[in-house]
Symmetry: C2
């Protein structure tokens, strides 16, 4: 696909690793962050820093307040983020941190920007191995979205095409950590936690923190984001 890529960048481990891959494989890589009312706004600041560090050609933050969507612990402050769940439970069911249709909305924005830029490749850090509870992180969804991109745009209907790339889809968290290290991702600046301190300090107990810890454990390295004074 010609014209480079648009990469969804939340500021977490997976999306930062995905950006590092896109910078290498589909340059110029344009990073897109959505400030949607998530609890973890520090992510957005870190995303800008990570985009610069990894060599994104552009980084854009779009404001889209999704807090009117009820039922998700990420956008509805009245629903607590679960902590301390057993590892076996993490991969079952749709978690309460699911935001309705979030990746559809985010990929749509990536698509709009990509068409505007002349880029044919949309990258997302979706993962279907360790945390398969999110319906919008699974292969059938990503394939369906690629069909929408081709059917619903000027570029797509003119035969230019779009592809949706999810290079982490079938990797374990441990593999992702090792890949991130190889690619020079500034791991200490990534924020995976769903409810970090304003400083970026992770809570340590939410599903995202537990999965991240599992990844570093599997990779056999210490998480630099947990270093004192990071």
């Amino acid at each position: 696909m010609s014209g480079g890529s648009v990469v969804l960048l939340s500021g977490g481990l997976d999306s930062a690793t995905t950006l590092a891959l896109a910078v290498r494989e589909a340059p110029p890589a344009h990073a897109l962050t959505v400030r949607y009312g998530q609890r973890h706004r520090i992510e957005v600041e870190r995303a800008a820093e990570i985009a610069r560090f990894l060599g994104a050609a552009l980084h854009r933050t779009v404001d889209l307040d999704l807090t009117f969507l009820s039922g998700s612990a990420l956008t509805d402050r009245s629903i607590p983020v679960p902590t301390g769940r057993p590892e076996a439970e993490l991969a079952t069911g749709v978690p309460v941190t699911y935001v309705p249709a979030r990746n559809t909305v985010f990929l749509s924005l990536a698509l709009a920007w990509a068409e505007s830029l002349g880029a044919g490749s949309l990258w997302i850090g979706a993962n279907a191995v360790d945390y398969s509870g999110y319906p919008d992180c699974r292969p059938p969804f990503l394939e369906a979205f690629a069909a929408v991109a081709c059917a619903g745009t000027r570029r797509g209907t003119a035969g230019g095409g779009f592809e949706v790339r999810a290079p982490l889809l079938h990797r374990t968290k441990g593999e992702i950590v090792r890949l991130a290290v190889d690619l020079g991702v500034p791991l200490g600046r990534t924020v995976s936690c769903y409810q970090p301190e304003p400083s970026g300090q992770p809570c340590g107990g939410c599903d995202a923190c537990l999965l991240r810890a599992k990844g570093f454990r599997e990779a056999g390295i210490a998480d630099p984001a947990l270093a004192v004074g990071n």
Copy 2:
């Protein structure tokens, strides 16, 4: 589909007519308007008025600034809206008023809100007869989006399903005007023009004005929006 509908409502003739149909066929109907930086902001005010008048259960306006997308006359002030085009030309090619992936973005937001509300039906005033230039108003796109809705949501993957309804898809503008009259749509308050005066007064020359005029001509009635002092 249970749980009612979400209807994309721009404030124009087609979306208002679509809302009137949804209020009748898929209640409760929830109207969604996006303030995306379009030239025609009066539409957004009229949308709220029309939603109340037609009996929408709720009306929500979402702010999403799309003016960073280049290449569209609707969001890029440096590109003039074409006026006075011959009727035969209107149905050919992708017009410069095409906003990249706009209906994908809008349907995504409708989907997110619908899932949050428990509504299974997404309604859009797309039309593929008189103005087939927009790729995101065509049947293949709408079918592809329905597949995304089912694959990428909790409701969809649980078997609850979503449908995308575009009841005006195969109607001429004249048929739409007649249908709107039958349904009691407040036609004089709808704004179709791409660049109206702040008062809502249409320019009379853009593609949207020309098609609207064609519709009223075919239906054999006067457009109340053109009445002096409306």
